[in-house]
C-alpha cells in the first residue's frame, strides 16, 4: 500500500460566474520515502491540489474522488481524525515564509505550538525539542527567541521547515519552497530538505514551476497543465526526454548553462496558460502546442504509457496518433 494515493481527484470552485474546475481528475501514488515533484505554471491547479490533500481549501471548493493517506480517505474522515493527520501525519511548507509566520510571536513559540497542543510534554522538554529542531534545520538553538523580522528569507524558510518537522510527519508537502530565494539560499534549502527526507524516511511532494529544480531533488516527476497531469515518470526521463510537448517546453524553459543549443535561443511557448473557467476543446494544450495535429481540438487524450515506467497524455504517444479514437467518437 502506498503512503498517499490520489484517485481521480477533482476540485471545483463555486464562484458567482459559475463553477470553475481547478483540478480535473488527477491520480497518482506516493510510496513511503519517495520524492515526487509536481511541476506546472500558475493556475494549473498544483497549489489547489496541495491544499486539497489536507482538505485545506475554502468552503467554495467541492471535491470528488479519493485521497487515501495511510489507507484512510482524507475526504470522508471525521474532523478529529483530520486534525490528527494534519498535525502528525503530513505537514505543508508554504512559499512566502514571511506571511506564514506570525510576526509578533517568537519563532520558538511558533515551532512549539503543535508540540504543546498534541503532546503532554513539559515546558523543559518542549524547549529542548524546539532547540533540536532549529539545529536540525541549520539554525542555532538560541534563535528560538528571535522574531520573524529579525531573520533573513532563507532563515525564515528554515523555520517553516522546522515547524513542519515538529510532529515527525510521514509526508511533507512543499509548495514552491524556494521561490523568491536566491540561488545560493535555494541550494541550501534544497540540500536541507533532501538530507532530512533521506535521514528520516519522510515522503516528499514538492511543487514548483521550475522543472530543473524538481528533477534535481525528486525521484519522480509529474507535469500538470489545466488541472490534469499530462506527463508522469522517472525524473530523469521527464526532464531529459519529455514526451508531452508541454513537458518539453517546461524542461527547455530553464536552460542548461554551457549547452550551445540554448545560447542566444531562449525557449518559450506562444500564448498564455488557459483560463480554467474557459478551457479549450479537445486537448487543452492544443492552442499553444508546437506539435499540434489536425484532430487535437477534438480528442482529449488521457495518460498513456510512454516509454519506461512513464506516461503522457498526448496524441503522439497513442497508437496511430489517436486517429481511430476520433473516428470512433464521431461515428
Amino acid at each position: 500500500m502506498s503512503l498517499l494515493e490520489v484517485d481521480d481527484l477533482t476540485v471545483t470552485y463555486r464562484t458567482a460566474g459559475g463553477d470553475v474546475p481547478a483540478v480535473r481528475g488527477v491520480s497518482f501514488a506516493l510510496e513511503a520515502g519517495q520524492k515526487l515533484g509536481l511541476a506546472g505554471e500558475s493556475g494549473c491547479g498544483k497549489s489547489t491540489m496541495a491544499l486539497a490533500l489536507l482538505r485545506l481549501l475554502p468552503r467554495t471548493a467541492r471535491y470528488t474522488g479519493e485521497i487515501r493517506f495511510d489507507g484512510e480517505d482524507i475526504l470522508t474522515m471525521s474532523w478529529g481524525r483530520l486534525r490528527a493527520v494534519r498535525w502528525a501525519g503530513a505537514s505543508i511548507v508554504f512559499q512566502g515564509a514571511m506571511h506564514s509566520l506570525n510576526a509578533v510571536q517568537r519563532i520558538g513559540a511558533q515551532i512549539a505550538e503543535p508540540i504543546r497542543l498534541h503532546s503532554k510534554a513539559t515546558e523543559a522538554e518542549i524547549r529542548r525539542r524546539t532547540g533540536e529542531l532549529l539545529e536540525h534545520v541549520g539554525l542555532p538553538a538560541r534563535r528560538a527567541d528571535a522574531y520573524p523580522h529579525e531573520l533573513s528569507g532563507g532563515q525564515r524558510q528554515r523555520v517553516m521547515i522546522a515547524m513542519a518537522l515538529a510532529c515527525d510527519p510521514k509526508l511533507i508537502v512543499a509548495d514552491e519552497p524556494t521561490t523568491a530565494l536566491d540561488v545560493m539560499i535555494q541550494a541550501q534549502i534544497l540540500t536541507l530538505i533532501e538530507s532530512l527526507v533521506a535521514e528520516q524516511g519522510i515522503s516528499l511532494l514538492m511543487i514548483s514551476h521550475d522543472l530543473s529544480v524538481l528533477a534535481d531533488t525528486c525521484d519522480r516527476l509529474a507535469v500538470m497543465y489545466a488541472g490534469r497531469i499530462v506527463e508522469e515518470g522517472p525524473a530523469a526521463a521527464v526532464f531529459g526526454d519529455a514526451r508531452h510537448p508541454y513537458g518539453r517546453a517546461l524542461a527547455a524553459a530553464f536552460p542548461r548553462i554551457g549547452d550551445p543549443a540554448s545560447r542566444r535561443r531562449p525557449q518559450g511557448l506562444a500564448g498564455d496558460p488557459p483560463d480554467p473557467a474557459d478551457l479549450p476543446s479537445g486537448c487543452t494544450f492544443h492552442p499553444r502546442c508546437p506539435a499540434r495535429l489536425d484532430h487535437c481540438d477534438k480528442l482529449d487524450p488521457r495518460l498513456w504509457p510512454a516509454g519506461d515506467d512513464a506516461r503522457a497524455a498526448c496524441v503522439h504517444v497513442l497508437p496511430d496518433k489517436g486517429l481511430s479514437l476520433v473516428a470512433k467518437e464521431s461515428a
Binding site: 505554471e41 500558475s42 533573513s152 528569507g153 532563507g154 532563515q155 536566491d182 540561488v183 545560493m184 539560499i185 535555494q186 541550494a187 541550501q188 540540500t191 514551476h209 521550475d210 522543472l211 530543473s212 529544480v213 528533477a215 534535481d216 526532464f239 508541454y246 517546453a249 517546461l250 527547455a252 524553459a253 530553464f254 536552460p255 542548461r256 548553462i257 554551457g258 540554448s262 545560447r263 542566444r264 535561443r265 531562449p266 525557449q267 518559450g268 511557448l269 506562444a270 498564455d272 496558460p273 499553444r288
Partner: protein, 336 residues
C-alpha cells in the same frame, strides 16, 4: 568595442542604514560599460547592490562618488537634463502587474512617455507601432484594455512597449522575467533579443538567474557585496569562471556538472564589508587551503583585490585566480 553608450565610472552609492547601523555601502566602486547593441547581464544575489547600481545608471539614484556617463558625457542631475537622458535610457521593472497603473488603459500606459515628452504628433501610430514591436498584435485590440484584463506576459509586453515608444537606445531591465510563468519567460527573453537585432537596442539586464544570462546576454558582470567581482563574455565566464564566487553560483544550479559548492551563511551586511577580499569569509578556495598553498592567503585576508575596470576584457577580482591563471591581465586592475 565601440564607444560605450552608458557607463559607470568608479560609482559608489551609500545609504544611511536603518537603526543606527552606520553607512551601508550598497555600491562600493563599480566600473561598467554598455556598448550600443550590447546585452549585459548584471548577476548577483539579493542585497548585493545590483538594483541600486541599475537605479544609479538610470539617474534615479545619485552616486555618493564617481559618475555615470551617457555617451561619454557625465550625467547632469537637473530635471531638464534628466528628462532628455530618459528618452534614451528606459526602464523595465520586475513586476509587470505593479508597474502599470490599474486605472490606465494599455493605450494610456504606452502613450505616457510620449505625453511626458510632449511628442504629440502621430501618437496613435507610434503607440500602435510600439505595441506590435512588443508582440501585441493587432495593437488596436489592446488599446482599451486595462492591466487586470491581461495575462502576466502581456502586461510585461505592455511595459516594454511603454519603454520602446520613446525610441531609446538602452533598456535597463530589473529581473524582467522573474515573476512570469516558465513557458512565457522564454518568449519575453526572445523579444529582448529580437529588439536588439532589429533596433540595435542595448540592454542591461539585472538578474539573479544565470540561465537568463546564458539565454540572451553577450557579457556578464557578477556582483558581490557592492562590487563587480568577475566580468567578461558570457561564454567564458559561465563555462570557465575564475572567481570562486562565480564558480559556486554555477555549481549549485540544478543540472550543473560536478558536486555543488553550497556556500554557508548569508551574504554579509553592506554596513560591515570585511577587510581584504570581501568574499574571503565565505571563500571555499581559502577555506580549502588552496589559497595558502598558492601563497596568497595573506593577501586574501588583508589586501583588497581592487576595482575591476570597465570595458569588455575578462577580469576577476581574486588574488588566487590571478596567481594561478595567466589569462588574468594584471593591468586590468586600475586601483589596488
Amino acid at each position: 568595442m565601440s564607444a560605450p553608450i552608458l557607463s559607470a565610472e568608479d560609482v559608489h552609492v551609500e545609504f544611511e542604514a536603518r537603526r543606527g547601523g552606520g553607512r551601508a555601502r550598497a555600491v562600493d566602486g563599480v566600473n561598467l560599460d554598455i556598448a550600443p547593441g550590447e546585452i549585459v547581464a548584471l548577476v548577483g544575489e539579493s542585497g548585493c547592490g545590483k538594483t541600486t547600481l541599475a537605479r544609479t545608471l538610470l539617474g534615479l539614484e545619485r552616486p555618493t562618488s564617481g559618475r555615470v556617463l551617457h555617451r561619454g558625457t557625465p550625467l547632469a542631475y537637473s530635471s531638464k537634463a534628466l528628462k532628455r537622458f530618459r528618452r534614451d535610457v528606459q526602464l523595465v521593472l520586475q513586476d509587470p502587474s505593479g508597474s502599470l497603473n490599474p486605472r490606465h488603459t494599455v493605450y494610456d500606459a504606452v502613450a505616457e512617455g510620449l505625453r511626458i515628452h510632449g511628442d504629440v504628433p502621430n501618437e496613435r501610430e507610434r503607440v500602435a507601432d510600439a505595441l506590435s514591436r512588443a508582440g501585441l498584435r493587432p495593437p488596436e485590440r489592446f488599446f482599451l484594455r486595462f492591466p487586470h484584463e491581461l495575462s502576466g506576459g502581456q502586461r510585461q509586453r505592455v511595459v516594454i512597449a511603454g519603454a520602446l515608444v520613446l525610441e531609446p537606445n538602452v533598456i535597463v531591465a530589473d529581473e524582467p522575467v522573474a515573476s512570469l510563468d516558465a513557458s512565457v519567460r522564454g518568449e519575453i527573453l526572445a523579444l529582448l533579443l529580437r529588439l536588439r537585432d532589429e533596433l540595435g537596442l542595448a540592454a542591461l539586464v539585472v538578474t539573479h538567474d544565470l540561465g537568463l544570462a546564458w539565454n540572451i546576454a553577450d557579457r556578464v558582470a557578477v556582483m558581490y557585496l557592492g562590487r563587480i567581482v568577475e566580468t567578461g563574455p558570457v561564454e567564458k565566464i559561465l563555462t570557465a569562471p575564475e572567481h570562486p564566487y562565480t564558480q559556486a553560483l554555477l555549481s549549485v544550479l540544478p543540472d550543473a556538472p560536478g558536486s555543488p559548492v553550497v556556500l554557508q551563511g548569508e551574504p554579509p551586511d553592506p554596513t560591515r564589508i570585511p577587510p581584504g577580499c570581501r568574499f574571503h569569509l565565505r571563500c571555499p578556495v581559502l577555506a580549502s587551503g588552496a589559497a595558502a598553498a598558492a601563497g596568497v592567503d595573506g593577501a586574501c585576508r588583508g589586501e583588497d583585490p581592487g576595482v575591476l575596470a570597465g570595458g569588455t576584457a575578462v577580469q576577476a577580482a581574486c588574488h588566487y585566480a590571478r596567481t594561478v591563471s595567466s589569462s588574468a591581465d594584471p593591468a586590468a586592475v586600475v586601483r589596488p
